[in-house]
Symmetry: C2
Subunit: 244 residues, 2 copies
Amino acid sequence: MEPTGAAAVIIGNEVLTAKVVDANGPHLIRRLREVGVPLRSLEIVPDEVDVIVEAVARARLRAKYVFTSGGIGPTHDDVTVRAVALAMGRKVVRLPEMVELVRTKAMDSLTDEALRLADAPEGAVLIHQPGIWYPVLTVEDVFMLPGVPQLFRMQLESVLARMQGTPVHLRVLYLGLGESAVAAVLDRVALDMPHVAIGSYPMFDPALDYLVKVTVESVEKAAVEDAVARLQTGLPAGSVVRTE
Amino acid sequence: MEPTGAAAVIIGNEVLTAKVVDANGPHLIRRLREVGVPLRSLEIVPDEVDVIVEAVARARLRAKYVFTSGGIGPTHDDVTVRAVALAMGRKVVRLPEMVELVRTKAMDSLTDEALRLADAPEGAVLIHQPGIWYPVLTVEDVFMLPGVPQLFRMQLESVLARMQGTPVHLRVLYLGLGESAVAAVLDRVALDMPHVAIGSYPMFDPALDYLVKVTVESVEKAAVEDAVARLQTGLPAGSVVRTE
């Protein structure tokens, strides 16, 4: 089966060592949900070529679209381009179009290291966008976004504008009983309706008026309503505090 | 080489679908850094047995300690115990000690589903702790923590209290030049001192008085100071705005 949806690889020693809290992962998760592209997985890995190669290769098996964050730039720790090329069995080449962009940007302070920004996996395509000189570097459906949050967000929007998502329908049931008391009913409905995703989340906050939050979702609205109706029928009388 | 450090697997459809923002990953990252246990990777995966099995197996190759978050409980979406058992080639067994705990907790409302909380990979060990009836479920160095943030944090502390970390020494240089202008010097020092981790982070905030933040770290303090001295010598005069 052809993979669908998206997978993300966050390249970030700085995240894994708690020097910064990753903002790109949560932002990507939220935006993909909003446009209706399901996210299969998100992995945070160090700035090490072999680990990134494996993560990107795995992401490509899991999902149609792969987003990487970080490791783009002219310094020694910017290894994403090399890793993505390896993961896809491609050479790294210097793109003449990017060389021109880097030259124009750098003007009279051009260094050899600056030209590393013009390197890309062979066959890469540049998505140009207003407001930022550096285009989105993409090869097949792998989008190599920069780690700097402002740039990541700007480039992400250029990519998302080209995607066609499928909105998800979500209903929520708030239950006044604990998970152990409702698990058998949830089991049965989840088993009967494998195309509907049912999640059960216990809460341990005495300030809340419920003990368990149950989420029911699918791209098919009718299936969601059917599952909610089955749950309401099966659950012990009075256990549903409210629904959303 | 025997793996060291830690790796994390966050089991969470609710995170990948943007229904909640993961708090456990960032908390774990911060606490591991504080106690000096290096984190090798963090992966967020859906509540699917096969994907979790692969992620846990991979985490065990990368790191000595593996933390999972979520998927612990009595409902159909709680598949972590089964997945960890599969990843480690063990059977799932019902632990008599846990059966007693669940019985005591549930009192007269014990259900078959509640007893699922007593299932664990064969050979699992329970770490008991004050203030919470549910012990930390652990097998070898895999710690299966619950996804509910309050419980995750409490159980994490019980685990960390048993670990011996190595604090990391960190110095930071703030530079007034862009990455392309300093990349050659960073390259050279990074290549000469592979046991020191050097990170380079461009900033695009005009309110800041620097353009690039360079981090230098190692468990050896002298190596960090040596690398900082080499960088200060090699970098263009006046490019270091300040150090920390």
